[in-house]
């Protein structure tokens, strides 16, 4: 008797499914496929799909919660096409080319956007969206509550050296220059809470340097990293039509001794977070402090408060005692803070250049 062991049997084919089963399977297959399509498109719609898959940039939300915690100001294309929008655009034009669009009140070769990068939008370069919602505020600099207009007036007075401008001073209160600039700032700050300090405000924090900032080391940092744009003499560069392209960092056409940037700590923070352009963070903390000390120990226009026979010594006690700067020091034989006599403006760059030799 050759009874075969069950395992030796030829494979038993699964019985052919019945018609009904096939139909059910077909329905299940098609239904599942459709469900997948629906789920996929929903995922794309709600931005759950990764951006490499969809090829779309994630949409920036008003108070961008993308991890950086930084506010993203609205796009220029969203400036409304009405009277208000026109004012915003004028404000933006003044901000980006101050010497042209607020010509009468600018006494040097700078624009607002030289320090407030990306038209005042860049975090850690004192973005205007972080400044606008925290005004009015008390400032110890002038010991009073400042409105945004007061604050901008200060910028013109010091950073834009308005004393050397065609009108001899900052725009008068109520000027359209303030109106348009404020419209621009307001538009940029939409959606931010009033009075709340924003991440990215000011120039950001910088650690204290390990060593006392050194002008000598700073000079080398400057030559290696800054001179290509700002010039070996720090006086900036113009294009061949005489239009300022790279801003002067010292000398008669830069910010004056009353400007915030003359303080070494402010300059160091700005530099570390923003310079060289497109390579922020390239300089170490020590390098940033050193080069800031080098830049801010050069002659620049007078502190405009220093009028009516106030000497550098008086001014030093009155306004410059509490902060980190070179005002009133004698560097390379030049007493810093004496400014440039108006009639010597032409000769001044040479003097500034000489003192950089130290």
């Amino acid at each position: 008797m050759t009874s075969k062991h069950p395992t030796d049997l030829p494979p038993s084919h699964t019985p052919k499914p019945s018609r009904g089963q096939t139909t059910i399977r077909a329905i299940l297959a098609v239904g599942g496929g459709l469900t997948l399509v629906v789920l996929g498109s929903l995922a794309v719609d709600y931005g759950l799909a990764p951006s490499w898959l969809t090829g779309q940039k994630p949409v920036a939300t008003a108070a961008a919660e993308d991890g950086s915690g930084l506010f993203t100001p609205p796009d220029e294309s969203t400036i409304p096409d009405d009277q208000f929008g026109q004012s915003v655009r004028r404000g933006m034009a003044i901000f980006n080319d101050t010497g042209t669009n607020a010509h009468d009140f600018v006494g040097n070769d700078l624009s607002c956007s030289n320090c407030h990068l990306d038209a005042g939008r860049q975090a850690y370069s004192a973005p205007m969206w972080a400044a606008y919602p925290v005004y009015p505020k008390y400032r110890s600099k002038n010991k009073m509550v400042n409105t945004m207009e007061d604050r901008i007036k200060g910028c013109f007075t010091y950073s834009m050296n308005a004393q050397g401008s065609p009108s001899g001073g900052p725009p008068p209160y109520g000027s359209d220059v303030y109106r348009d600039l404020q419209a621009y700032f307001f538009w940029m700050s939409q959606g931010l809470p009033i009075g709340k300090k924003q991440e990215g405000a000011g120039f950001g924090k910088i650690d204290k340097p390990a060593q006392e900032p050194s002008r000598e080391r700073g000079k080398e940092v400057f030559a290696a990293n800054c001179a290509v744009c700002h010039g070996a003499d720090g006086l900036g560069q113009k294009d061949r039509n005489g239009k300022q392209v790279f801003p002067p960092l010292w000398g008669p056409h830069s910010y004056n001794w009353g400007a915030g940037m003359h303080k070494v700590d402010a300059a160091a923070a700005f530099i570390q977070h923003n310079m060289p352009l497109s390579q922020p963070g390239k300089l170490s903390t020590q390098e940033a402090w050193d080069v800031a000390a080098f830049i801010d120990s050069h002659p620049r226009p007078n502190d405009p408060r220093q009028v009516g026979g106030i000497t550098v010594e008086d001014a030093l006690k009155k306004w410059h005692h509490s902060h980190d700067g070179f005002y009133g020091q004698t560097i390379d034989g030049v007493l810093l803070g004496t400014g440039f006599p108006a009639e010597n403006q032409a000769a001044a760059p040479a003097a500034a250049g000489d003192s950089s030799g130290g």
Binding site: M1, T2, H5, T7, D8, P10, P11, H13, T14, P17, R25, L28, A29, V30, G32, G33, L34, T35, L36, V37, G40, A60, T72, E76, A93, G99, T100, H103, L117, D118, A119, R121, Q122, A224, N225, V228, C229, Q237, K238, D239, R240, N241, G242, K243, V245, F246, P276, L277, S278, Q279, P280
Partner: protein, 431 residues
């Protein structure tokens, strides 16, 4: 007995086993994915064919508009003139044509425009102008590029008419056909040599400063021209690739108007291998220092029409944004922040980029991003190029190609033998 014999020893392999495959049903999820993919594929097909249809339609419509535009040659459209003005002129002359004190003359209420009318404006737009010039009693000494090679007759007629009648109280406009007539005569001429030459065109123009005499051509001028046009036994001619007017072609760059010091540095970099290109390395190694300087000065001083047109299907709007404002969300500042307004360049380190060949620009950006080119100061271009997507690079290259060419440098910006040698040495130390 039998069954005992048949009984397998479990230690031995089963000799009677025959391999077989079980037929299993294809699992349902496989069907799901296949069907989902099929639906998605069909959807995408329909979607893209729809958008190409839309694009075709839009293009056909544009062509039609263009045709009707050129058909009505009579009255230039003031609104179009204003838009063209803000795209092409406002960067320097201001949105309202107010100019920039000391740098760019005003066009609004300008005595030159008042006296010369739309015709004089056309002449200046067509050829460009450089050198000392008095406008409304103020003196200027800038250089305006020639727009003849980047604007059509129609566009120039609209701009010139807008400047004459919109920004000034003139009443006479100029038609496209009149512009075409001017182009026939002066389209290829060098830029106007300041106010002095302009005085010959415009009757009654107030006193103008003396024109600068063009730099006397050195005794070597002939030798340089020979090098450029014919080459030597060892070096082929520059013009054979860079064009007779140094305007470049495709991936061969425009050289006309680039800063002399920049050109010297590039040639030295080719010699040393700091910049790679087999052809240029061969040529540069065959040149003496003297020849390099002469050639650099020759091209720096050259004013040539634009030989570039947008050709990479880039998005011009995105390109304009990158060039003028940058995209700080990806860490890219505006091109013009360093390369000067309208890409005119800032000597010596930042070459003019206006009217540069778009294929060349896109190619160089890709090389910087990949590290094949690495001779920019501080490595600035590497980071910027890496941050740009391929589409961004094409967009910005196309936008730059739409700009008017950089005029030739003034003699003062030329390189002399000694300074350039030391400058080149210095900049190579930076790397």
């Amino acid at each position: 007995m039998m069954s005992d014999k048949m009984k397998k020893d479990p230690r031995l392999p089963d000799e009677t086993f025959e391999p077989f495959e079980e037929t299993r049903r294809i699992p349902l999820p496989v069907y799901w994915i296949a069907i989902a993919l099929a639906i998605w594929g069909v959807f995408m097909l329909v979607e893209t064919s729809h958008s190409t249809q839309v694009a075709d339609k839009a293009r056909a419509q544009l062509d039609k508009q263009e045709q009707t535009k050129t058909a009505q040659v009579s009255a230039p459209d003031p609104a179009a003139g204003k838009a063209l003005f803000s795209d092409n002129c406002a960067t320097c002359h201001g949105d309202a044509g107010e100019g920039v004190a000391g740098a760019f003359p005003p066009l609004h209420g300008s005595d030159v425009v008042k006296l010369g009318g739309a015709q004089a404006v056309t002449e200046i737009v067509m050829r460009g102008i450089g050198g000392p010039l008095n406008v409304n009693g103020e003196s200027y000494d800038g250089e305006m590029p020639a727009f003849g090679s980047v604007l059509s007759d129609k566009e120039i007629s609209e701009i010139a008419s807008y400047v004459a009648t919109g920004l000034n109280d003139g009443t006479k406009t100029i038609s496209a056909s009149e512009v075409a007539d001017i182009r026939k005569v002066s389209g290829d001429m060098d830029p106007w040599n300041g106010g002095a030459e302009l005085a010959g065109l415009i009757n009654g123009l107030p006193a103008q400063p003396d024109a600068k005499t063009p730099a006397a051509k050195g005794p070597d001028a002939k030798l340089v021209a020979q090098l450029v046009n014919e080459g030597t036994d060892t070096v082929w001619s520059c013009a054979s690739c860079h064009g007779e007017k140094g305007e470049g072609l495709e991936t061969v760059p425009r050289l006309a108007g680039l800063p002399a010091a920049y050109l010297v540095k590039q040639l030295h970099d080719f010699q040393k291998g700091a910049r790679f290109n087999d052809s240029m390395a061969y040529v540069a190694k065959g040149l003496s220092d003297r020849e390099i300087i002469d050639l650099a000065n020759y091209y720096a001083g050259m004013s040539s029409p634009s030989g570039a047109t947008p050709s990479l299907q880039g998005d011009l709007k995105r390109g304009a944004q990158l060039a003028k404002e940058g995209d700080w969300s990806i860490g890219v500042p505006a091109c013009f922040t360093c390369h000067g307004p309208s890409g005119i360049g800032v000597a010596p380190e930042f070459p003019g980029i206006a009217a540069q060949q778009p294929s060349y620009v896109a190619h160089q950006l890709a090389m910087w991003a990949g590290g094949a080119r690495h001779n920019s100061p501080l490595g600035l271009m590497a980071g910027i190029s890496k941050a740009l997507s391929d589409a961004d690079r094409r967009s910005v290259a196309d936008y730059l190609a739409s700009l008017p060419p950089v005029p030739g440098s003034k003699p003062a910006d030329m390189v002399a033998m000694t300074t350039s040698a030391s400058a080149a040495k210095e900049s190579s130390n930076d790397q």
